[in-house]
């Protein structure tokens, strides 16, 4: 057994087992070497949203935002997935939420995003905590310069024109400032804080 110190070896040298030269069969002599081929793949699928998200998406067509409350923890989730992750239980109650809330935190994207050529950088994406919700809801902050966005800023939804509404979260074009005083946040560690039932 060799007791070579590993640090004594050239770290980039090919392992002995892989250092033998590769010889091609004669039939392949003179063939053009191929390093890689690009084969775009695509998968189309039908999405079945389930009960909670179906209710949520249908309500979107009426400019209403539906969340769901967990009977065990009191937490309200939006978009609702039908389950409460902490309790490990089904949510028990549908809750209609206001289309107002505050900015929990935000990002300013300064690179283009492939699927949204309509979004011209820089733009601000934010987690919005809707009034009455326990978790942040992802959206764009619009109608002001991204640099003016603040954590705690009060915002309201900007909806598509009524004739363009569909069963989609895309009905909310973004969130604009209400002009109300900022939420006072003292506990920065707790993102998605709950006011009343926080354990």
């Amino acid at each position: 057994m060799s007791a070579d110190r590993p640090e004594a070896r050239d770290p980039l040298a090919a392992p002995a087992a892989l250092s033998a030269p590769v010889t091609l069969p004669e039939a392949l002599a003179g063939a053009e070497p191929v390093e890689s081929v690009c084969t775009p793949i695509r998968m189309a699928y039908t999405y079945t949203p389930g009960r909670a998200l179906s209710r949520y998406l249908r309500a979107m067509a009426d400019k209403r935002i539906l969340g769901e409350r967990c009977g065990a923890t009191g937490q309200v989730f939006v978009p609702p997935r039908g389950v409460s992750p902490l309790a490990g239980a089904a949510t028990s109650e549908v809750v209609e939420l206001a289309d107002t809330g505050y900015v929990e935190s935000f990002n300013i994207t300064r690179v283009p995003i492939e699927r949204r050529p309509d979004l011209k950088p820089p733009y601000c994406s934010a987690w919005i905590v809707l009034d009455g919700a326990s978790v942040g809801f992802l959206g764009l902050v619009i109608n002001l310069a991204p640099e003016e966005v603040r954590i705690g800023m009060r915002v309201r939804a900007v909806w598509k024109p009524d004739e363009e509404l569909e069963t989609s979260a895309a009905n909310i074009l973004g969130w604009e400032p209400t002009g109300e005083p900022d939420e006072v946040i003292t506990d920065y560690e707790r993102i998605g804080r709950i006011e009343a039932s926080d354990p």
Partner: protein
Amino acid sequence: MASERTAVIGVGQTKYAAARRDVSMAGLLREAAYRALEMANKTWSDIDAVIIGKAPDFFEGVMMPEVYLAEALGAVGKPIMRVHTAGSVGGSTGCVAASMVQSRVHRCVLTIGWEKQSESNAMWALSLPQPFATSVNAGAGGYFSPIIRRYMMMTDAPELIGCMVAHKDRRQALLNPYAHLHQHDLTFEQVVDSPMLWDPIRYSETCPSSDGACAIVLVDEAGGDRHPGPVAWVHGTAMRSESNSYGGRNMVSPAASEQCADDVFAQAGIVDRRAEIDAVEMYVPFSWYEPMWLESLGFAAVGEGWRMVESGATELDGGDLPVNCSGGVLSSNPIGASGMIRFAEAALQVMGAAGEHQVDGARRAVGHAYGGGAQYFAMWIVGSDKP
């Protein structure tokens, strides 16, 4: 019955690069695996089982690659097991591999993680459209930027702490021949002046996209005792996960992260984490995660992590708790391997085999990985002495 003492006797890494066009996915794995076997003085016939980890299949568009890779993995006719925990997978895979020996199911296990990002598009694979939410986030940076912003606001950290981390890791990468990024002349000012991508995250504060693989050979106590070369003993392993969205979640320092750290330090019998650990390889894909994890892992009090960075405490050159001496994820990021590289580099430190980026006299080191929406965690502690 106590678990079997378990030792790392071999580590193998590929050269990490934006595109390893000279090798196929199989060739990439063989390069790492054979280097690990050479260091371990083992051949494929000594390996009882192979434990693998990589990021989700749709990254490269190759479904269940373990099936076609069985031969390159030396796994034909042997038990093979694949671990899935998003970006933390390399770490979780190391923990699962160790458990195979600790539980006495196998005596000698090879574990390997990899990614060939040049054959994929991870940024957009991570931004799949969802019909119930608006598609506004651009990859992982867009997701983590608000959490970092929250940390900065919570701790009043100076704006350039992240740039200090990035500059440190890129300089330390120059000492690691396997690192992807070798930016010899990168100045601190260039890091600061690099473009904002996901404000407050700059271009130079983000990880690259890399091809690469990393392998580790683990053996039981008798195998560790017999090994003629350096050995790293496993002193503890821990994994935790949590939902990425619930009310009151601390996204800066998730409960799963703190509990994972508490578990692994307790297993290793460590009380004063900063004093008793000699080197840390932590998962820092965006620079600000260094101070954030320093706090979450209990190396610094809440709000004090950035002060450790600012004071130089995490530098290889003169710091008391060197972090990411290898250059870290900020210098090499083959996603499925990135966690395992942290575990492997921690082992190399206590084996005294880290070469130019060796921490003098390192006896105990931490390997750490996280993934998903900062919701999957894996850690191990390795030591030069038997636990």
